[in-house]
Each structure stands twice: as structure tokens, then as C-alpha cells.
């Protein structure tokens, strides 16, 4: 019996097949590269594919394997990265025209660790400019489409990451999540997406958006895939002073422990009619499935979560306006020709930034300006504390908090792009997790009863308790099965 083609396997299955030498990394990598070539003209998940270095890394992995020196479960596994991770010698744009042609002279810590683990990096994935957006439509380099329905968005900002994993172009991907940018596209594309606790994964060499909120995390086809990917990159990094010394557990260890005995908090505020009916039905069915598996549902309250979006749109733009000050045409990126230095700054930034980046720079500059800082930025930081305290109280009575990731399934390209407030509300359920610095995960909860598009269940956990999130998600996955492959992309 011949082995199934490598693309049908999950990362975990591919990893096992590589160790049994049933398939080589070069075969898996060639399959991935052909798949990308065959599908990405329609999907738009990749900004850049790097076949030569990928095949070279694959052959090196096969050579290690032949010598019995494979370094990790990721050795030889083809992965791709959101174009926000600096990759030595490979252009990195963060989806922005202002970084066109930028070739980083070093790797992000995450990239360094993945290379050390033997992973094969095949390219850089599409994203909303500077991770600002919920549909991938703010990319300066064209939209990414949802592999379930090519007229719809994959979500964002890690839209390319979610689309590529869902479309079986790669075995896993990394993204970043500042207000929902891993979980929301994972939900809309039917994959598993995990935003770890703030500080769990190094942000060194990751293009900064809002530094007190940004966190790196994995997207995978299965919960075990996401757990393996997280384990490869988590842990303290002396180059990121916000990275934590908290010990990194084996995320696969308790994965199969099931949901029995888990207390699942159901926040009243996440079930008050703000979610589309078919999405809410799948979420309630998932909660019922947990109950049937022996978990206990507990009513909890997150009374300050209603201020989450407002607080986020002060904190995140304020930090972004500061972080984006570095793009001035002096050290990297294109420079607009101008006679004076200040004209050069202005014209470079005017030509380089898209509309959403400019909007957030203006919002943030205003929120930080003299006389307004206390009323806006400081007040928003105080709201963060209240949001966190809500969760702390909830976790006295439950182990995880559960609810929808997104109020809707994937929406159409163009549907919200002219209405920033509607776009911001796509993250209404995901933002409080970032404000509170907690880990959050999206796991497939079935397909919408009307339109057949994926629905994701969100699980939020205690600080550094990614293991319980993964265990609960795995229990649901075992019950419902992982999301099927989308048919629209072929």
C-alpha cells in the first residue's frame, strides 16, 4: 500500500511519516511548492515563495535524518511565516509599501528557533498592512481570499497564514495577534489558531504594531499541530525584555486528557444577541458537547468587556503611532525624492503608508497629544486593568472561558472595507484577551448551518495555561473531527 500523498497529512502525521522515512522532506517540500504554484494565483496567500532555500533546507533535513540526527518533530516539515517576521536575506514588508525591498540582515528569534528545529520555511504570507485589519484587504500587495469561498475574505490580519494552512499549501504557519489577528482568521478559515499569553513567545525581529499587545502564535490544521508549533518557539529570549522566564511545559503531554472535570466559563456578555444566529448555534452546540463529555458549564461575567473595543482603539493606535515613527525613508525602505529633510519624511510616509495605517497613526498621535494623554491613553490603560480583573474573577470559578471568536462567518471582499467601525467590530470578542494579556485559541466548531462556512469556538485561559486551552480544544476536535478541507480552492 502506498503512503497517501503528503499534503493530505496533518503536521503531526507528516512528522511521524518523516521519522519512519516513509516520505522525505524533499518530497513533502516539492509537494508543497507545487500546491502553492497551482493554487496561489487564485488564493493570494503568499507574498513571496522561496523555493531554492526551501529545497536546500529540505535536503539538509533529509541528510540529518539519514544520519539519525533529526533535531525535532519539525525537522523537515514545510512551514510558512506571516510577512511580519524578519527573515535574514529574504524581503520582509509587513504588507506595507513602505518596506518594499527591505532585506533584513538578521532573523527574528522565532525564525531562528524554527531553523534550529529543522523546519523548512517556504515563504512569506500575506497580511493586513502592519497587522492592522480584520480582512487582509489592507495589504499593499493585493487581497488574500478565503479558500472556502473565493469571493470572501480569510479574515485578518494573519489572513494569508490561515488561508495557506486551510488550503493545504503548508503544514503550519505562524502569525501575530494584537486584537484577534490569529484567532479571527483561524475561525473564518476553519483551522486552529493560538494566541499565547503575552510574553510567552519572543517578539524580537517581529515588526512591531502595538508592543503591549502583540504576541506571536501558531496556526495549524489540528490542535496537536498547533501544540507542536508553539512548543518549538515558546520560551524566554534575552533579546525581548517582555519575554517570560515562565517554564515551557510539554504542550502535547495532557492533550488527550479530555474535557471531564473541566469548568468552562460562559460569559453572559458574549451571548447577548451580538452574534449571527447560525454562528451562535454552533457555539452553543460546542458548549453542549463539552457538557456531554463531562465538563461543567459555569456562568461568568465580564462586565467591562463592552469597553474593550473602545479601549483597544486608543491603546493600539497610540503604540502604533510611536512604533511607526521609524518609517521615515532614512535607514530602510523607499525614499521619496524631496529637497528638504522634513519634506522627505512627509512625502515618504504619504506614499508608503496605506489608508488604515494613516488612520491609526492619526488616532494614536491624537490620543497621546499634550492635554489628551490622560483622558485617552491613560484611561484606556485603566480599562485594561478592569478587563483583566474581570477575567481573574471568572477564573476563580472556571478553568477556561468559552464563546464565539467572530460574530459572523467570513464576510465578502469589499463588504466592510469602507466602514472602519464595522471592521473594528469583527474583533469584538477577541480583543479583551489581548487587553488582559491572556492566552486565547480558536478551534473549529463545525460549519455554519446555512452557508457551510467554518465557525470557530474561542477558548481563553489563565496566564501561561496554554495547556488547558489545548486540552479542551483537543477534546472538542475529537468529538467533532477537524475541519474538512475546503473545496472552493480545489
Amino acid at each position: 500500500v502506498s503512503a497517501p500523498p503528503p499534503l493530505g497529512r496533518s503536521l503531526t502525521e507528516l512528522s511521524a511519516a518523516l521519522s519512519r522515512r516513509e516520505v522525505s522532506s524533499e518530497e513533502a517540500t516539492r509537494a508543497v511548492l507545487s500546491r502553492i504554484e497551482a493554487t496561489d494565483g487564485r488564493l493570494g496567500a503568499f507574498l513571496r515563495v522561496t523555493p531554492e532555500p526551501a529545497l536546500e533546507a529540505a535536503r539538509a533535513s533529509d541528510a540529518r535524518r539519514a544520519r539519525g540526527e533529526a533535531t525535532s518533530p519539525l525537522d523537515g516539515v514545510p512551514l510558512a511565516l506571516k510577512d511580519i517576521f524578519l527573515t535574514n536575506g529574504v524581503e520582509t514588508t509587513a504588507g506595507s509599501r513602505i518596506l518594499t525591498g527591505f532585506i533584513p540582515p538578521f532573523d527574528a528569534t522565532v525564525v531562528d528557533r524554527l531553523r534550529g528545529a529543522g523546519a523548512v520555511l517556504v515563504g512569506k504570507l500575506n497580511m493586513d498592512e502592519f497587522a492592522m485589519g480584520s480582512s487582509n484587504e489592507n495589504s499593499a500587495f493585493g487581497p488574500c481570499r478565503n479558500p472556502w469561498d473565493l469571493t470572501r475574505t480569510p479574515g485578518g490580519s494573519s489572513g494569508g497564514s490561515a488561508a495557506a494552512v486551510a488550503a493545504r499549501q503548508v503544514f503550519g504557519a505562524f502569525g501575530t495577534d494584537t486584537g484577534g489577528s490569529i484567532r479571527q482568521p483561524a475561525s473564518l478559515c476553519g483551522v486552529v489558531g493560538l494566541k499565547p499569553t503575552y510574553g510567552r513567545v519572543s517578539r524580537y525581529g517581529v515588526v512591531a504594531f502595538a508592543s503591549s499587545l502583540d504576541q506571536v502564535g501558531p496556526l495549524g490544521r489540528t490542535v496537536a499541530d498547533a501544540a507542536t508549533l508553539l512548543g518549538a518557539v515558546a520560551g524566554h529570549d534575552p533579546r525581548d525584555q517582555t519575554s517570560s522566564h515562565h517554564p515551557v511545559p510539554d504542550y502535547l503531554a495532557g492533550l488527550e486528557d479530555g474535557a471531564r472535570g473541566l469548568r468552562i466559563g460562559v460569559p453572559r456578555e458574549w451571548f447577548q444577541g451580538g452574534t449571527e444566529a447560525g454562528v451562535e448555534r454552533r457555539i452553543r452546540e460546542a458548549l453542549a458537547a463539552f457538557e456531554a463529555m463531562g465538563a461543567r458549564l459555569v456562568d461568568v461575567e465580564l462586565p467591562h468587556s463592552k469597553y474593550g473595543v473602545a479601549a483597544y482603539y486608543l491603546v493600539a493606535p497610540a503604540e502604533a503611532s510611536s512604533n511607526l515613527a521609524r518609517y521615515d525613508g532614512v535607514r530602510f525602505g523607499p525614499r521619496a525624492p524631496a529637497r528638504s529633510l522634513s519634506d522627505m519624511y512627509g512625502e515618504t510616509r504619504d506614499a508608503g503608508f496605506g489608508a488604515e495605517a494613516k488612520r491609526r497613526i492619526m488616532l494614536g498621535t491624537y490620543a497621546l497629544s499634550a492635554g489628551y494623554h490622560d483622558a485617552y491613553y491613560l484611561k484606556a490603560q485603566k480599562v485594561r486593568t478592569l478587563v483583566r480583573q474581570d477575567f481573574d474573577r471568572a477564573f476563580e470559578r472556571c478553568d477556561v472561558v468559552a464563546g464565539p471568536v467572530s460574530p459572523t462567518v467570513a464576510f465578502s471582499l469589499g463588504e466592510k472595507i469602507d466602514d472602519p467601525l464595522q471592521m473594528y467590530l469583527a474583533d469584538v470578542y477577541t480583543i479583551s484577551c489581548n487587553l488582559a494579556a491572556l492566552p486565547g485559541l480558536s478551534v473549529p466548531a463545525g460549519l455554519h448551518p446555512g452557508n457551510g462556512l467554518p465557525v470557530g469556538l474561542q477558548l481563553v485561559g489563565r496566564p501561561f495555561d496554554e495547556s488547558t486551552l489545548l486540552r479542551a480544544a483537543r477534546a472538542l476536535e475529537r468529538e467533532l473531527g477537524p475541519s474538512p478541507a475546503p473545496e472552493a480552492i480545489g
Partner: protein
Amino acid sequence: MTHALASADTPFRDDEVRPSLSSEEALSNAPAREGTCFQVPRILE
């Protein structure tokens, strides 16, 4: 500061010289350079 990081300790390390990017690497993306400097339009007329 009143956000979720308030409880994190301030990390300290010894003030030792450690390798970092070379000038050539740091200048490798410069739109304009002169020697080991980034070049910009003149500031004083």
C-alpha cells in the same frame, strides 16, 4: 503603568559589549549612504 505587564520584573543584565550588526549590515537597506553614514537631504540651507 496600569496594564497587564505591571507585575513583570524589570530585567537587568551586566553592561557588557556584545556582537551586533556590522556597519555594512546596518547600512545594507539605506536608500542613500555616504561612507559609514546614512545620507539625508541637507537640514541647514
